[in-house]
Amino acid sequence: MTDHAWLDAAAPYALGALTAEERAAFEAHLADCAVCRADVQALGEVSGLLAHAAAAATPPPALRERILREARAVRPLAAGGRGLPWLAVAAAVVLAVAAGVAYLKERGSRQMLERAVAVARDSLAAQQQLVATLLAPDVNTAVLASKGRPPTARVFWNPSRHRVVMAVFDLPPAPAGRIYQLWAIQTGKAPVSLGIFNTAPDGRLTTSLDVPPALVAFDVTAVTEEPAGGSPQPTQQPFLVGKLQGGE
């Protein structure tokens, strides 16, 4: 593996030290190269730990309440419903493994693990529902793009389940205070919101959204960037647009 031409890109990549072009080229290579993927995964985990090297600092006490207050005002983006409990237990489980016995002595850890199991079950059910939505014979598909360049997205519309599944690629997370919103458009009518979403730091997202009951058909889907919480109607031109194809 030492003579691999791309090898010296993995460490800068893991440290976030490539330019956008360098990164895009390397990621294109990563898609086909399991050796580099494994390398990046291992080095990325190491570089992530550098966060612990920052000089210790204590956040002001008011920050905790502010974050909880702001969270109460925003509905988390649903993929099978509850996100955060599962996140917290995932955190707890990871820490439990890392800290071993010490963690297990902590009060409440048993309940946490029980919740982890319950949440994993929910998560599996959500995955199964997602697959079922995708595999139905009457599914319509739209490929959303902007002039053939990234980002791109695919929307699968399942009229019988009244759900859409959306997969987004190469879309950086929305800036602070902003969010992305998916719209369904029927020719001659006002756009209908299918929900708000944001991508992960790697620019990807797969999510499943309920379609409003009143909406039975639409021809086009589009994505705009909106203020956090979403808008009743789009406030800008969509940067991703796609026409629905197939089905029935």
Binding site: A51, V94, A200, A228
Partner: protein, 182 residues
């Protein structure tokens, strides 16, 4: 929102906020900005929590990634990146990490975190200075490999080699904190 969700977010905050805040502060350099970054990072985590995929990394790693990205975005938005580059390049042996003695860790449930800090800080301090330097400039300074090469007046290839050597050494010394070491 259910009461359980609220507790979960609080729990997450209690476990990881001090690390996220310290990271943000190391990057942006000002307390008020660091608070913004941490609030943003938790907000993003909250909104996108359903998409979290444990197969791709741990929650603390995810939070650190978001926090770092947001902090570097803020530097750019404030037009302070040039200053950050100067500062990063000018930082002497002290670097971004400080010895634990100067620490004063937050008084929350930080047993695991303190362990991680101790090990990471020590391992980083044990690296040859040129290797530690490039890792810190990239991670905390947000510099690209080419910018680092320019700031240090070293060939790009040297910078790449040091990055890899530094990460490989850390990988060995931090094995207890890594999934492959478990």
């Amino acid at each position: 929102m259910a009461a359980g969700d609220d507790r979960a977010l609080g729990e997450l905050y209690d476990r990881h906020a001090a690390t996220a805040y310290a990271l943000a502060l190391a990057i942006v350099g000002e307390r008020a900005d660091a608070e913004e970054v941490v609030a943003d990072a938790f907000g993003q985590m909250w909104r996108t929590s359903a998409q979290f995929d444990p197969a791709r990394g741990s929650v603390p790693a995810w939070l650190a990634t978001i926090t770092r990205t947001r902090a570097l975005d803020l530097l750019r938005a404030r037009g302070r990146r040039a200053r950050a580059i100067e500062r990063a390049a000018a930082v002497g042996d002290a670097g971004f990490a400080t010895p634990l003695a100067g620490g004063g860790d937050a008084p929350d449930r930080g047993v695991e975190r303190t362990e991680a800090r101790r090990l990471v800080t020590r391992s980083l301090a044990e690296l040859p200075e040129p290797q530690r330097r490039v890792l810190e400039l990239a991670y905390f300074g947000g510099l690209t490999q080419s910018e680092i090469a320019a700031a240090l007046r070293e060939p790009l290839g040297t910078v790449k080699t040091r990055m890899r050597a530094g990460l490989e050494k850390l990988r060995a010394s931090l094995a207890p904190l890594l999934s492959e070491g478990r």
